[in-house]
């Protein structure tokens, strides 16, 4: 492997990691941006997405499309759960102190984590890569698995779709308006509660989808929820909480810093990320593309 192909391979692996993180962190950022709640349980939705996908694959067997049905089904199931949680639990918390919201989402992490353990046990689970995407292609002498390519293409596609929906649709305008001034929006006759539920459902869908799609690359284990939430937080802090493109940028930076960090600090690659986050917090506490909170 020449130097160039090695650099290329590293950037591809960074890009794959980035697109996964974007899928997950965008939901976290969206909930914060609109609902003003830091949802610790977002990682739990990601974990439930992974377990649900595993469960559906168990039911369907290994057909050519079962993985895709499982991924979509898992994301929809998690979205539904997210909707229920928002409607019956979260709605009681709006306007309360942030500490209560934090405690509540943290309690949700613990409770749902134990529920998952009761249902699926502690043994690690695994899903194969979907048929058709099992191979790899050689680019500039670097091996690039098809599945990684798929993820790299899916990330920007979702980002663009999202951006389009936020900018050009009626619901998107309401969501942006709610992020700026929820009282006025409510006074104008928009059903803010329904809007919040919708946003939460969408964010949970993204988290669940991220969890389902990561299963061909990672083991499904208890504890995967808390691992990912830390990474997602770092991404949104770097990019700017509540900023859509900031999350995208934060994820890209995270992936590349992690990939190339090991060349310079082989044993402290994670350190580079946190150093970067600390630098961002000192220089621009609201994140690279975020807006200062009033």
């Amino acid at each position: 492997m020449s130097d160039l192909s090695f650099v290329f391979a590293q950037s591809i692996s960074g890009l794959t990691a980035a697109m996964f993180l974007f899928l997950i962190a965008s939901g976290l950022s969206l909930i914060f941006g609109v609902l003003r709640v830091l949802n610790f349980a977002h990682g739990t939705f990601y974990m439930l997405g992974a377990y649900s996908a595993y469960q559906i694959v168990q039911w369907l067997g290994t057909g050519p499309v079962s993985f895709w049905i499982a991924a979509l089904g898992a994301a929809l199931g998690v979205a539904l759960l997210g909707g229920l949680v928002e409607r019956f639990l979260f709605q009681r918390l709006y306007g309360k102190e942030e500490l209560y919201q934090l405690l509540f989402t943290y309690a949700l992490v613990l409770i749902l984590g134990d529920v998952a353990k009761i249902i699926w046990g502690t043994q690690q689970k695994s899903i194969s890569r979907p048929p058709g995407l099992t191979g790899a292609v050689s680019v500039f002498g670097a091996t690039v698995p098809y599945y990684n390519l798929f993820i790299i293409l899916l990330g920007p596609a979702i980002a663009l779709g999202f951006w389009f929906a936020l900018q050009r649709t009626r619901a998107g305008r309401f969501i942006r308006a709610a992020a700026l001034d929820r009282e006025t929006l409510g006074a104008l006759g928009v059903n803010v509660n329904a809007l919040y539920t919708g946003v939460f459902v969408l964010a949970s869908f993204l988290g669940g989808l991220g969890g389902a799609l990561i299963t061909p690359m990672r083991a499904i284990v208890p504890g995967m929820d808390t691992e990912v939430i830390v990474e997602a937080f770092v991404v949104v802090v770097i990019g700017g909480l509540g900023s859509f493109w900031g999350t995208f940028l934060g994820a890209l930076i995270y992936g590349q810093v992690l990939s190339f960090g090991i060349l310079f600090f082989p044993r402290f690659s994670i350190f580079s990320i946190f150093a970067l986050m600390a630098a961002v917090l000192i220089i621009r506490p609201w994140g690279l593309l975020g807006r200062p909170l009033k």
Binding site: F6, S13, K117, Q123, Q124, A136, G223, L258, F260, S269
Partner: protein
């Protein structure tokens, strides 16, 4: 009349004494029951539980029942210490058998020393647990240690037609120690080898792609991994996608129980069949003793699993050593039991094991083998599977 009263009085006085003798012997078990390490902690605790139930059914030990008090140590050294203290102070346990990670083991060892409580570690492998400067009269290990595991791997890899070797291990006690033991031993027994690359992801890393790319850029002919348990599933999925196993022609050995039935079972067809792995136990280890086959049947029934976990046996053996030592000492006093454990040999399901006097370490070897597909099972197994007895290279 007075005589009768005296007899009654004496009987009444003796009652609490008799009750004292009937009080169960309490054994505290701090072990991870949550998070990824629960994969091993849970079955290990079940193995100990089965042994306790079996002993109690036979009337217990020294006429007293055994009582196992299991607590979640969360695979965290601080939590393990807190739980161990609570077991000693609140639950008044007589002994400690437990801990899993190489961070928890040495931490709880300190608590055992302070409280003069015999502590048997069934799983932590770090050499530091029984190293000369850390050793004290109350700590014992029935797990393999990093020296034994690293050297066992070196003995195997030395036979491969390769000279350029790379290693990948988590950057903490276990990963560092086992890699060091491997490198030192292979350089000794096969001086021509060259370690071309070493990768040190953080414990619990989820994205191995950058590490794999960096490693493969150095063109190794063989890879020695100690990415353990569920983490190995994640690692090997990503390594397989990047063509690692083909590139090294399956000259790959996964330490940290990458060959265990739990791991191959969870991956099924995705397992990189053809690599070498190791395991504490294997239900399909057919050429083993009748005692092992019988144990396998019992644990299979106890766990209600056709393909029972390979970790249960560690909890089982830990309890076995404790009970045999109590019998030998004919006492539950820590100092007597601790002395009884020195040089104690026990017939375990995996054969006769002995705790050495010099370092309180049992000669616990592990099963090693090349993984193959087997029509009998829906997942790969190690075949032929060999028990590597570490006795000759423990020092």
């Amino acid at each position: 009349m007075i005589r009768l009263l005296t007899v009654i009085l004496a009987a009444l006085l003796a009652l609490p004494l008799a009750a004292e003798a009937q009080k169960p012997i309490k054994v505290g078990m701090p072990i991870p029951l949550s998070g990824p390490p629960a994969l091993f902690g849970e079955p290990a605790s079940k193995g100990a539980q089965m042994y306790v139930e079996e002993i109690n059914a036979k009337g217990g030990v020294l006429g007293r029942k055994l009582e196992l008090v299991i607590r979640d140590s969360k695979a965290d050294a601080n939590e393990a210490v807190r739980v161990a203290r609570e077991l000693i102070l609140k639950e008044n346990v007589d002994f400690l058998v437990g801990t899993l990670t190489s961070a928890e083991g040495p931490a709880v060892s300190v608590v055992a020393k302070e409280n003069k409580i015999v502590f048997i570690a069934p799983i932590p492998k770090t050499d530091q647990l029984t190293a000369a400067d850390k050793l004290h009269p109350y700590v014992f290990r029935v797990a393999a240690n990093t020296t034994m595991e690293g050297r066992s791997a070196a003995e195997i890899v030395a036979k491969w037609p390769v000279t350029k070797i790379a290693t990948i291990a988590f950057d903490y006690a276990y990963g560092q120690d086992v890699t060091k033991a491997f490198v030192e031993h292979i350089k000794k027994i096969k001086p021509g080898v060259e370690i071309v690359d070493q990768q040190w992801p953080k414990l619990g890393e989820q994205d191995y792609n950058p590490f794999i790319n960096a490693q493969m850029a150095k063109k190794p002919e063989a890879i020695v991994s100690s990415i353990w348990g569920g983490f190995f599933v994640t690692y090997s999925k990503q390594a397989k996608a990047l063509g690692v196993f083909d590139a090294v022609k399956y000259n790959f050995i996964g330490l940290g129980e990458a060959g265990s039935p739990e791991t191959t079972k969870s991956m099924g067809a995705d397992y990189p069949v053809g690599i070498w792995g190791n395991s504490y136990d294997a239900f399909y280890w057919d050429e083993s003793s009748p005692a092992h086959r019988e144990y396998t049947a019992r644990i299979s029934k106890f766990l209600k699993d056709e393909y029972p976990s390979s970790w249960a046996v560690q909890g089982y053996i830990g309890m076995q050593f404790l009970v045999e030592a109590i019998k030998k000492a004919n006492s539950v006093e820590a100092d007597k039991v601790s002395k009884a454990l020195l040089g104690l040999s026990v017939d375990t399901p995996v054969g006769k094991l002995t705790i050495r006097e010099k370092d309180h370490q049992a000669n616990r070897g592990q099963l090693y083998g090349k993984t193959v597909k087997d029509a009998k099972y829906p997942f790969p197994i190690m075949k032929p599977v060999t028990y590597v007895d570490p006795t000759k290279f423990m020092d």
